[in-house]
Symmetry: C2
């Protein structure tokens, strides 16, 4: 059985106060008394009753004074005021000051007392329950958000370091998840023969399940490098085909758009393959900027998919920029063609991935409809390219 | 500039109603009028005003009737009542019925009107803002929970199928995450020479970051199998050492407790290694039950860690049971020794991992302080073992 609700009766008329206390006790409540407003506030601070029954006209501090005080200090505490008949203006003032209900003295029987007190306690319980639900929801949300944030930090730690050197290139990247975790990511690796590879991937969906798949994908590629696959394995057409089979084998039914490049600096050649990554990556070198239009099917959809390979000669001043298709959803206004043009322009004028996402206004959206990842590789004088 | 707040004035006295409407308009509100309670309710349903100013004594439906109706249908709509002086009992009734405030007619000037209306609108705005915050929090929580639940399903899909055959054994398992995603998991693999391995792992922490590490770990082991490492690599001491180096290389600073076993059915031998997994796994065969006491350091802590290997002959009737240390936190009452005894007993009497977690009462806790994973491998007549 729950403990009885505790009610404080504040009234300077001893006989009335004691009578009401008795009646409340007979109704199953635990009653206590105070002889004026000052004593009442002290008793409330001391014992935190569940409800206060308060006379209005009292010496030292009257009922309206008690109400003002309680409204600031204990806004949730239900107060029912009692006043002599004919003092209706008092009742109006009290109700406007936040009294929960009003009883005329002498109280017209136990039923009236029971009704007023019971109703106020019920409403207070309802409000308290609402508050508990809200607090609980906040705690639950905070737990999940903290958990996801820790996951996000781990995911970010798996990205190549922003500004790192790969061969003679500088790599910069940005990852803007739609929530905490991202289905987009990028990575790079070096082969023993001096060649190095990079890829930008967009796992279907977003959030935790897609992030789990990015980790699987990244680990698989890393293992391929570590296990010392022979050089031909990393040629784009072979590599993408193997990754396609791997994703189908994993059976999680998340397909992946992925752009892959393999750089052979000794021969100044970039070999590329594209598994459905769009917008087309931008290559800027020797004063020319062009989109690397390489159609191809996303990974993990069809066992028979095959991938074309294209090679580009690398000039001393080179900039490569790729981003995932979330960029179209996050950019403001315009058709895909217009946005593609703006991306190409911004790619040309930006020195780093961070600058690019700022120029495109991607960071100003706090709620992004999709993840966006940007990978930029620069060699030579990126700044000269930028201002030319 | 925001649109002006819309106020509906309900009063059967045309002159009063029109005067109040004019005053409200001069105060910057958009005012509309209705000549009695019925017309007022219709206007409210039609135009959803921001506030209602309502006379009390009216033909057809009076102010108290309007209040009762509104309290049910639009509990958030602020209503300020107006009543002739000397009709204080009406005011008391109205306030008790949920009126937000009370004005005496004739209204004592624009300032009084402005004060009452402004205060009520302000409070309504506050309540609405609270509600919006609560709704937003619920949406945010729901999004994260759905996201994590999708992640959980993906993680579960990576576990070995419950009840699957591995060699001549039946594998059953349970994964009870503390939240949605788990840092505990188990897996199994088969080697081309007919041997097969299994492991139970507990990544430090829980939730999303630990789940990401389980996926990395699982993918690494899978790749080792797929890349066709030679047979000696999968011997427990070699395997655990390699896994230790791999975790240190990954630099995510999450250590892992892991029990690993390699079964050679042609020679009827189980070879085991333990990297800090506790409670000790239970082996039950030939009428004997014993704890496999194999101390060892968790993976990912020290580069120099090495791991002992122990072999057990396998009898036709064999049951192997391992669980992660979350079991101690989730089980009720008793010391670790007592709980270990109860786990060993329950392991002996349970035919599946699911039965074991039920016997130990692990599923009755809705909020678990830690993840728990259980892996059970049985061969021969598990039921006979169970009832013996």
């Amino acid at each position: 059985m729950p403990a009885p609700k505790r009610i404080l009766v504040i009234d300077d008329a001893d006989d009335v106060r004691i009578l009401v206390e008795r009646q409340l006790e007979r109704l199953g409540y635990a009653a206590d008394g105070a002889a004026d407003g000052v004593a009442g506030l002290e008793a409330i601070a001391r014992s935190r009753p569940d409800l206060v029954l308060c006379d209005l006209r009292m010496p030292r501090l009257d009922g309206l004074g008690v109400l003002s005080e309680l409204r600031d200090k204990y806004p949730q505490l239900p107060v029912v005021v009692m006043s002599g008949e004919g003092l209706l203006q008092d009742a109006v003032s009290a109700l406007r000051l936040g009294a929960w209900d009003y009883l005329s003295k002498p109280i017209a029987g136990m039923a009236v007392l029971q009704h007023a007190v019971g109703k106020a306690l019920e409403k207070a319980e309802l409000l308290a329950e609402n508050q508990r639900q809200r607090d609980k929801l906040e705690v639950l949300y905070r737990e999940l958000a903290d958990d996801q944030d820790a996951g996000r930090r781990l995911q970010l730690s798996l990205l190549p370091e922003d500004g790192m050197k790969v061969g003679s290139f500088t790599l910069t990247r940005e990852l803007l998840p739609s929530s905490f975790l991202s289905g987009d990511f990028c990575s790079t690796f070096s082969l023993p023969d001096g060649r190095w590879g990079f890829y930008l991937a967009d796992v279907a969906g977003h959030g935790v399940p897609s992030a789990l798949v990015t980790v699987m994908l990244r680990t698989v590629v890393e293992r391929w490098v570590l296990e010392g696959r022979d050089a031909s394995f990393f040629a784009p057409s072979t590599f993408l085909k193997a990754l396609n089979h791997e994703l189908l084998r994993q059976r999680h039914e998340k397909h992946v758009a992925l752009f892959y490049g393999l750089v052979d600096e000794s021969r100044s050649v970039l070999a590329c393959g594209n598994a459905g990554c769009f917008p087309w990556p931008i290559l800027q070198q020797g004063g020319n900027t062009f989109a690397m239009e390489l159609p191809g099917m996303p990974l993990g959809l069809m066992d028979t998919a095959s991938y074309d390979e294209r090679t580009y000669p690398l000039l001393p001043d080179t900039k490569f920029v790729a981003c995932t298709d979330g960029v179209f959803d996050v950019m403001d206004g315009g058709s895909v063609e217009e946005k593609s043009r703006r991306i190409a322009q911004a790619a040309g004028s930006s020195a780093t991935a961070t600058e690019l996402v700022q120029v495109l206004g991607l960071t100003q959206h706090r709620a992004r409809p999709d993840d966006v990842a940007v990978l930029m590789l620069t060699r030579g004088d990126a700044h000269a390219l930028r201002t030319s």
